[in-house]
């Protein structure tokens, strides 16, 4: 038996709650021999404190309730053999290098491995060249069902769809750092004309950092000067006159205005530390530099954004009969527990 959400298994620790309550309840209370008991017991019913776990049967019923709830939430799958692992590897050197060990292990176990374009992985070092490989198209092509292990870099260059739908549960393995070896010769020559109209504070800080490290100077205009051609523009709307556009807050733009040309880099979020993980993590100077070098015309995605790109296609089959049995059992025991508790109190 396997669980779709094994993490919820920790919820079984909640079983200790009624047990602890039970013993705590038993321990409290100084014993007091009492003669006028009859006048006391008349008041017992009204003063019963919350949930009384007085007898063992009730305790067992309640533990069982919790256990069933945890079992139901963790979605057990009886047919574990169906859930073989399928490894999807983004054809990029950094990804392969980063997860070489895992991928080799998977290869040894005979689990299926695919590149994002749908071709089976035969040799890890033979990275297919036809970039960008689209994961969704690759999955449709390979038709490999099973628990997907996805190895990818943390940007959105792996699909042209808004969401990738997977047949079953999945795990993401991301290359966290996009650090690259600085090329020996800095090709970018300053000074660069910059139009800065969006998030001025964080962007100018990033520009200053670049100046400090690489010696590239920027001439920043905060207001557009007529007739001026800019090398780099930071705006909320793409600027056709600039050589390179970095458009932030693109989430609010209509999709039709987002063209795929190489002169524009789109950021869904605003480039503030509060809204963008990349800015918060101090990756903005790198992103700007890479955009200038023309290397990564893609958006860096945060973990959350990356997860949002994936969804499990809910097929009726995943809701197994076993879960329904557990649910029915849960309801039955709940009924029994209530009936017993009320019977005890009356």
């Amino acid at each position: 038996m396997e669980f779709l959400n094994p993490g919820i298994g920790w919820g079984l620790l909640a079983l200790s709650i009624p047990v602890v309550l039970h013993f705590w309840h038993q321990k409290r209370g100084k014993e007091l021999p009492w003669a006028a008991y009859r006048w006391l017991s008349g008041a017992v019913l009204q003063s019963a404190r919350g949930i009384r776990l007085e007898n063992i049967l009730l305790l067992i019923l309640r533990c069982l309730l919790l256990a069933l709830l945890v079992l139901y939430l963790s979605e057990p799958l009886l047919k574990g053999s169906e859930q073989e692992k399928v490894h999807w590897v983004q054809p990029a050197k950094e990804v392969v290098d980063n997860f070489r060990f895992e991928l080799e292990e998977a290869g040894k176990k005979g689990e299926k491995r695919f590149w994002f374009n749908g071709d089976p992985v035969t040799e890890l070092n033979a990275i297919p060249a036809d970039q960008p490989a689209d994961l969704q198209l690759g999955m449709n092509k390979a038709k490999a069902e099973g628990k997907a292990e996805i190895y990818l870099a943390g940007h959105d260059g792996f699909t042209r769809f808004t969401k990738v739908y997977l047949p079953a549960a999945y795990t993401l393995h991301t290359v966290k750092s996009l650090y690259r070896e600085p090329s020996g010769q800095e090709t970018i020559q300053g000074p660069l004309k910059v139009l800065l109209q969006s998030e001025k504070e964080s962007i100018s800080a990033a520009l200053e950092a670049i100046t400090e490290v690489y010696g590239i100077r920027f001439e920043v205009d905060e207001q557009r000067k007529p007739g001026q051609r800019y090398d780099l523009s930071f705006t909320h709307q793409p600027d056709s006159s600039a050589t390179l556009n970095l458009v932030s807050g693109a989430a609010s733009l209509p999709v039709s205005s987002m063209t795929g040309d190489e002169r524009t880099v789109w950021f869904n979020e605003l480039l503030n530390p509060e809204t963008s993980d990349a800015v918060f993590n101090g990756e903005l100077p790198e992103i700007i530099l890479e955009a200038l070098r023309g290397e990564v015309p893609v958006r860096i995605l945060s973990d959350r954004q990356l997860r949002d790109k994936f969804a499990v296609r809910k097929a009726g089959r995943t809701e197994g009969w076993f879960s329904s049995v557990i649910l029915v059992l849960f309801i039955l025991i709940l009924g029994a527990e209530r009936a017993w508790a009320i019977h005890k109190n009356s």
Binding site: H25, K30, L32, A35, W39, A43
Partner: protein
Amino acid sequence: MDAAELIRLNNLQLAARVVSDRLLLGVHQSRRTGMGTEFEQYRPYFPGDDLRRVDWKLYARSGRYLVKESATESHLHIRLILDLSGSMNYTEEGVSRLDYCKVLLASLAYMGYRQNDPLSFYTLKEEGTELLVKEGKNSFHRILYQLEKARAGGKGGNKDERFPEFQQKQKELLILASDLLEAGGEWVNLVKKAASPYRQILIFQVLGRQETDFDLKGFYRFKDLETGRNVELEAESIRKEFRESFAAYLAGLEEALRLPDVHLVRASMDTPLAGVMAEGLKTISRWNS
């Protein structure tokens, strides 16, 4: 000396003496005068008086016919009854209800003993009434011995049983020491059955401070002394209800025991015994006069 100290003495005879000496008045004073051994007064001769009672020596001296009078000695059979149900084991601040009642009965027995009143002693148990000491020689000391031996336990007595000896038409005093904590009015039935024009019934209802006032604080496991059942309760949460229902029970008991020649004296376990006894004896001296 208060009740707790007396009980800690663990010597019923001494305790009884200490308590009784505080009440130098007798249990029952005779107001009637007549023949007796102890001289009380002279009174003028009235026609019809026995001539033998005229003090002729005094006549020789004074020339007047005076009759010698002394208080008549009255003999009152005192029956002492001690409740031995489990609830008598209730203890408060080191004083158990049973011990308190033992000293109380011992003191009363001592007073009767000093006046040569016939004494007898009964206990009330689950199995029924038991006569432990018959009236007769040395009855006081035998009562003390039985009192010391008495142990409470079990449920309340079978109150439906009649006391066979109680059917005698002889003037007597019945003294009952108990807590009267019974469901269903068994005590009232018993007292009603025992009540008769020839009998005075003096009931000492001994209660704990917590039973009447109930100002416990905190969480307790109340254990029934008679059945062993227990229940856990927050004292504060039931205080009001307990006080009300208990006060109602006491009021109902008082009402039911408002019978001729039945006197109910309620005592708290922390009040001095002499005061309790004095209160009880007052009701009897009212009767005697």
